[in-house]
Subunit: 660 residues, 2 copies
């Protein structure tokens, strides 16, 4: 008896991507409603099924739609915003300041719609997302007709959509309630990473995932730094650290896992965690190369993800599949690992399992959702093709085919693209919106980047403390003698300190920018040991000094900020044209003299070896005040028995620069 | 005064890729004849130049055409013929047997034409080739209108177009004479690699390159194996080895250079050698990752190549450029190396220098050949774009754009593609020819791969020596006693030997295939030292034995061949379903007994530890002869005082298999 179907695909090379890798060179698939009704040889199926819509797939591969196992779709709008940069410079210097300023529900909706269009074009039918305003991701994805795990990000610091993590957790629960049960959208929760979460976040997010039986999406061991920090702080790598808080009791999607060890892999297998491998992003940000072939050997479900376009810079799963296959070979020294069929499985059936949608999608099997694509392999760059090996069709998809060979996409039984025409997203309307937003962001960045000062503000570091000092600097031959004099004097000593200071001065093309100083202050205790280290950044602004008699210098404006990042970060972020390095030993007294507070520094310049200096400094706020303090400072010098005529009106960095 | 030009490109984002990286966001280029007449801002150029053909490039990048610095274009016809295999299995098991059988002038012409079409589509305007019948490569390339260095391959062993290297050298000279001076084709010579060349080849090829002032194209240090072998044999790595023969006095294009050290890099810089980096091929064949960022630091001209499609599997330079940029970051741990602009330079200006065409092509500069392309960056996957950083346009090309965004291609002032329509290659005519050839090759391979025997023949190893033996095998408790008896007997001892044998038996699904034995024979000298090692492959054919009285076995047919490759190679090539390993000590006497030659083997089975056996064997060629020899063998056993009733009718591998 002939059965009825809604749609009948005929004349296709069908790759089922089921457990047995069934394949029909002249195959057919029947679809009814949202699901697959039958898969098999065309001769047989055309006898058994009739449908009002018959799709002739001559010269094409019919296969499950691809699964993008880890992405941040709204970042589509930030494509190419800062490339060839180190992770921290890219994230703190570009992405985060822009996100703070621009990410809104509208931004997220627009970015998601365009990302969906791009994903559809590259043959993706399901993806796992993680971003802010995830409700809008879900909304736009449902409109585009794609299947997605939409995971609301939770961070321990304020984010574009939440001032606190409690707010983000509450938003997650609301989103989960709103979307739970939707045919396309699986709402979920995303504590961003171990190092950006508090213990409370990890616990609460896990509880939420369990309460609603939804996935939990998290970045794990993306960089070696993350692992080192975790080892330093908690004496264990990231996976066991998370295990303590029961995180893996949820259905976890673990993005990256570049730096997990063998034992961590075994743990992930045991907990049924899905690993999302992001080859392009991991190379582009230099995070490293995940040990994918070993993970597969151990039985992990490894999916493939594009990550966000900002670190990719597109959503082309064909590129990711190819790179996953190539990279495993190149990094292992074994060209037989991650063969083409495995790579395609990672992007379909295994990818679906990785994001915990294996029961619904990822393979062409009776009863599964009709999430499928057609790929034209009759093009120039796909020709000729060989069939002496049953695996060659997978190899053709991985090594020769391109995303632009995808002609048709169906999700949940509905067409999203027919003959390369997008049916659910109006990109002609949306692209100009995206470009005008990009122009706004360009303007914002140009403004922020116009001066060293504004770049300092942009990374959120500088507290805007403008300050002036009066300053006398005198070369002294025998500092000990002066110190004895100081200690025996009538001066009220408020405190004394001992530092060893390592200063790097950045110089910029425009001298008006002044210098930016990165200082490492070692606090030396009474026993001469380093008891603490402080990192500070000081912007020594354009020269506005005034010279007083007695060679007192009224110094530049200074903006001081803690320096939480590395010297390397600041170099790459500020891109100075020149650098000067100064290392000195500083003994400092804070004293009160005629009711004015002064710092008295005894500096021994070790690198370069310029000898000993005495500095007397005091903060000031008006010219009148400065003039008065300049006089008192000079008196202070006299009290210490030092002649001010030998004084220098320059900063150390200037003394060095003016030397022959 | 307004000047005349043939063609005027306006409204383009022009990337000159000259030494100063000049860039015009609203730029124009004037072309006259085969060369570039002017480059600059549109406003200015449209005032200065008029042309009958004005090309509006709105939304597009106008840039130099890409340079594919290393490829084997005719291999286009072998796309996807054997993937996910190790280099030797792929080369010896698939590529070489097929090349021996199918590569002809017609094959080369067809493959080149289709490759040119694919190259044009991906924006390539120049390439450096290396293959057989290179005259035909030149012919087809000139027809397609592309610029190329066509390098005739020279190998020390017979190739599809030359029975000897002298023949290949002569063909090279003829080709060079024929093509020297052609506007598009630069003929050249290609000693394939150090390890496939004799000293004579290296010298003669270099002399030829110098005589005609043409480039010399060679593979250098593609695999670590190549370097290890060179160190073992010549006590130096590949670059100094080649330096001895003055090879670098020619204009050398060195493909791969994956495993060269710092000193070798310095040498290549000194000699002005161009290095062709092939990232996909090096990953796919697991050759390794070339130290590109270090090479660039040292000032080497590093170009980017696709290599042949058989190890890629396409000719998509956009993929290669992206991978070159990504891989350098991922492998160095520094995401700032090989930034996008550098990657584009490697594929254009530096690529042209790498193949010694830097004076002609690779940048948009007045007087250079008009080799240029248009790339549409107004597509979905390229949007939006940011311009706050002048380098972002290069980043867009590298990380977001695709080869399918190339819309127009011009070489030597002539259009090869307009609005994605190929103008010089009729692919609709050629593709069916390529596919029918692929079908023929499929049939050839299916036939070759139908049995272990034909696979053995396909790799050229087996000499077709079919042989049978009569064989008695007896377990002996005290072999020394029997040996004494043998030495004291009347037997004429022809010689005696001592071996230690390591045998791996491959078993196949179909028992009719018999076993394939890989044997490592250590020849032990009188002092007990290993004096030599021999590797042999024996196909122990389907059982055809007949049992005689006295438990004499008439053995299987045997094909014996030297085994020049590794055990690993044979495993991956023959893909046995099972393996058995046997290690034994063998003392062998060749004796003459009643005018019949016999081998008498005293075998001590060490792994598995089965004890001592005595074997008596003799070759035979007819049943009658076998029957006679079986009788004599039994008498020989008696002479040695061994009872034949304890004899075994099985091979060792069968004895092991039949054990519990």
């Amino acid at each position: 008896m002939v059965q009825k179907a809604d749609k009948l695909f005929i004349n296709a090379h069908v790759l089922c991507m089921d457990d047995d890798f069934n394949r029909y060179e002249k195959g057919a698939v029947a679809v009814t409603g949202d699901h697959i009704q039958a898969v098999g040889n065309m001769d047989q199926l055309t006898k058994e099924y009739q449908a009002p819509e018959v799709i002739d797939c001559k010269g094409k591969i019919l296969m499950p739609g691809l699964v993008d196992a880890h992405t941040h779709v709204p970042m589509n709008l930030l494509r190419g915003l800062g490339d060839d940069l180190r992770l921290d410079v890219w994230l703190l210097g570009f992405i985060m300041p822009v996100e703070r300023e621009f990410v809104s529900p509208e931004f997220v909706h627009l970015g998601t719609s365009l990302a969906c269009a791009e994903l559809i074009r590259s043959g993706v039918t399901s993806f796992a997302d993680m971003y802010y305003f995830e409700d809008q991701v879900a909304e736009a994805t449902a409109e585009a007709g794609l299947r997605a795990i939409c995971c609301q990000t939770i961070l321990k610091f304020p984010s574009p959509d939440a001032d606190s993590y409690e707010e983000a957790l509450a938003a997650s629960e609301t989103m989960i309630k709103n979307w739970k049960g939707h045919p396309l959208i699986t709402p979920a929760v995303a504590p961003h990473a171990a190092y950006t979460s508090t213990v409370d976040i990890l616990g609460s997010a896990t509880a939420l995932a369990q309460k609603y039986d939804v996935p939990l999406h998290i970045h794990i061991a993306e960089t070696s730094q993350e692992v080192e920090d975790c080892l330093d702080e908690f004496d264990m790598p990231v996976v066991p650290y998370l295990e303590q808080f029961d995180v893996f009791s949820a259905k976890v999607i673990a993005a990256h896992c570049v730096h997990i060890d063998e034992r961590e892999m075994h743990k992930l297998v045991r907990y049924g965690v899905g690993v999302a491998h992001n080859p392009t992003s991991n190379l582009k940000l230099s995070s490293g190369i995940a040990k994918v072939s070993r993970m597969l050997e151990l039985g992990l479900n490894v999916g493939i993800g594009t990550d966000g376009v900002s670190s990719n810079n597109d959503l082309d799963m064909f590129e990711e599949i190819r790179l996953a296959a190539l990279l495993a070979k190149g990094s292992s020294g074994d060209p037989t690992v991650v063969p083409a069929r495995t790579a395609i499985a990672m992007a379909t059936s295994m990818g679906a399992k990785c994001i915990h949608l294996g029961d619904l999608t990822g393979s062409l099997e009776v009863g599964k959702k009709a999430d499928l694509i057609l790929v034209n392999i009759d093009t120039l760059h796909n020709s000729p093709h060989y069939r002496n090996d049953p695996n060659s069709v997978y190899a053709q998809l991985v090594y020769a085919a391109k995303s632009t060979d995808v002609t048709d996409v169906m999700v949940d039984g509905k067409w999203l693209m027919r003959e390369q025409k997008l049916l659910t997203v109006d990109i002609d309307k949306l692209l100009p919106q995206a470009q005008s937003l990009a122009l706004e962001i360009d303007r914002f960045l140009v403004e922020r980047f116009q001066s060293v000062y504004s770049k300092l503000i942009a990374i959120g570091g500088a507290e805007e403390q403008e300050s002036y000092e009066v300053q006398i600097k005198v070369k002294v031959d025998d500092p000990e003698k002066v110190i004895t004099k100081l200690e025996e004097s009538e001066l009220e000593i408020l405190y004394s300190r001992h530092y060893h200071e390592f200063d790097t001065y950045f110089k910029f093309e425009d001298p008006k920018e002044g210098w930016l100083r990165y200082r490492e202050d070692e606090f030396i205790d009474a026993k001469g040991e380093v008891e603490n280290v402080r990192y500070r950044l000081t912007l020594i602004g354009p020269q506005r000094e005034k010279h007083f008699p007695q060679d007192v210098l009224l110094s530049r404006s200074r903006f001081i900020a803690p320096a939480p990042h590395s010297l390397r970060f600041y170099k790459e972020y500020f891109k100075p044209t020149d650098e000067t390095y100064i290392e000195k030993d500083r003994r400092r007294w804070k004293v009160s003299f005629r009711n004015i507070e002064f710092f008295i520094n005894f500096d021994r310049l070790d690198e370069p070896g310029l000898g000993n200096f005495l500095e007397v400094k005091s903060r000031t706020w008006s010219l009148e005040d400065a003039e008065k303090k300049a006089q008192v400072a000079d008196d202070l010098l006299k009290l210490l028995g030092v002649q001010s005529k030998a004084s220098e009106t320059l900063d150390y960095v200037q003394i060095i620069e003016t030397q022959p």
